[in-house]
């Protein structure tokens, strides 16, 4: 554990001594802020429209939670597609480029120390990124009265989905010494996972439900609605384990080929 933490801390620190950490953080805030702003504007417009129509029954399911927070969390996960590869690509590819892998691989370390150290570094950075977005829901709480529960469950969901993304990005970083290639590999995997949901309407219904269940992105739905459901957590944790397992295989291939 000590060795794992030593590596995690080193890599977390590395994000903030180079511009990469701040850049990713700013871009993420900019994109989510922009999307949040769009949601607010839409909310105001629809409210005004309903008021003009004088149709109170339409307001039943219309509130800050359903109209702003739920889509806000979905937006964040969408932004992960572009952002996560940017901060996971360096995790191991950079070690190889700088030849410091020769140090890590010859020190008395187990693969699991390197793997989990890198994973925790990615997770911690993800956590920092997410914490910085808390300003948006806080604005809602200050100026409105959303249900607070779904904010917490939503963040838990976003974090778990993000963790799954990080595990894939880390795996990609183990496969190459070129950071750009690592980023593209993880980006393509995320895009494929995303396209699975878009294409399902064409598929047959039983096949469709399987795909829906396997879809990484749909795992967010219940979290965003305020539901912390065990199947979703199990799915996401398993996803991380699978990603890490692939990463472990990638290290082993490097070690013994």
């Amino acid at each position: 554990m000590r060795k794992t933490m030593t590596i995690a801390l080193k890599d977390l620190r590395a994000y903030f001594v180079s511009p990469i950490g701040y850049t990713v953080l700013s871009v993420f805030l900019l994109l989510t802020g922009w999307l949040f702003n769009g949601l607010i504007n839409r909310y105001i417009m629809i409210t005004m429209y309903y008021q003009q129509m004088g149709n109170p029954s339409a307001f039943r399911d219309f509130n800050l939670n359903t109209q702003i927070l739920t889509p806000f969390f979905h937006n964040m996960v969408f932004v992960f597609i572009f952002i996560v590869p940017l901060f996971t690509m360096r995790l191991f590819a950079e070690e190889r480029k700088m030849r410091t892998d020769e140090l890590l691989m010859t020190l008395p370390l187990e693969d699991i120390h390197i793997l989990m150290g890198k994973f925790f570094a990615g997770l911690s950075f993800l956590g920092i990124v997410l914490i910085s977005t808390v300003v948006f829901p806080i604005l809602l709480v200050i100026y409105g009265n959303p249900d607070v529960g779904p904010i917490f469950s939503g963040y838990l969901g976003v974090f778990l989905v993000g963790a799954a993304f990080v595990s894939v990005g880390l795996f990609a970083s183990f496969t190459t010494e070129n950071q750009v290639v690592a980023a593209i590999v993880s980006f393509v995997i995320f895009l494929l996972l995303y396209l699975i949901n878009i294409n399902v309407p064409e598929a047959e219904s039983s096949f469709k439900s399987v795909l829906m269940y396997l879809s990484l992105f749909d795992q967010m739905d219940s979290f965003a609605k305020g539901l912390i459901a065990l199947p979703n957590i199990v799915y996401l944790v398993s996803f991380c384990v699978l990603g890490l397992f692939l990463g472990k295989i990638a290290i082993e291939i490097r070690r013994w080929r």
């Binding site: 020769e102 140090l103 010859t106």
Partner: protein, 235 residues
């Protein structure tokens, strides 16, 4: 302390190391000589567990590197051809990082860091960032990292490359200090250096071990230089 047998490494079609075997006893200092591309770095990388061999076995202190890699690696300090440094760290921070990964704890760790800084004459730059170090200082930091925690076997890939003359003398006397208590395998292109500090010479040519003996054995009649030239003569 180090036992290598049947070591072979293929990179695709290139046979970089071809059935090398040798044994180093505790306290021996061995020079690994050979022309560019002979396979020195490749051999050292296999011995330290960075590269897997295509065939052959490595025993460190009696421990099989393949079966118990972590246990074997605990006994090894390794200075790669290119010092493996993190530019964004400070000298001290880097040594602390490596020390922790070697499993050193609090007081033991601080003591080991002081010792390494002292031995490699890094006192003046201990607070500096690694990216701001000159090549020679990087080399010294790489060596400091290798000797950190006092491992019994040191594998040094061209340890004097890029050092200034005073540093080279320093490095040599440093290795002489460790002679007897540590086992050292170092590669070099400077024959006089090998003759000065080593008691064992291994000569590798085109991946094959073409010469292995004590310095005395090599020195009888002919100089090390003559022997080297006759063994690696370009045919």
């Amino acid at each position: 302390m180090l036992e290598v047998s049947g070591l072979t490494k293929r990179y695709g079609d290139i046979l970089a190391v071809d059935d090398i075997g040798f044994q180093l006893e505790k306290g021996e200092v061995a020079a690994f000589l050979g022309p560019n591309g002979a396979g020195k770095t490749t051999t050292l990388r296999i011995v330290t567990g960075y590269l897997p061999p295509t065939a052959g076995a490595v025993l460190i202190g009696g421990v099989d590197l393949r079966r118990e890699p972590t246990k074997a690696k605990r006994m090894v300090g390794y200075l790669p051809e290119i010092p493996p440094l993190y530019p964004e760290m400070r000298v001290e921070g880097y040594l602390r990082f490596v020390g922790k990964l070697k499993g050193l704890r609090k007081q033991e760790l601080e003591k080991a860091i002081e010792e390494a800084i002292d031995r490699c004459r890094l006192k003046d730059v201990r607070k500096r960032f690694v990216y701001a170090l000159s090549k020679g200082y990087r080399q010294r930091l790489g060596l400091a990292q290798a000797i950190l925690g006092n491992p019994g076997l040191l594998i040094l890939d061209e340890p004097t490359a890029g050092l200034d003359p005073a540093q080279i003398v320093d490095m040599r006397s440093f290795i002489l200090e460790l002679k007897g208590s540590h086992t050292i395998l170092l590669s070099t292109h400077i024959l006089s250096e090998a003759a000065q500090i080593c008691n064992r010479v291994l000569i590798i040519h085109k991946g094959k071990l073409v010469g292995d003996g004590t310095l005395e054995q090599f020195a009888t009649g002919r100089s090390l230089e003559e022997t080297y030239m006759s063994l690696v003569a370009y045919s």
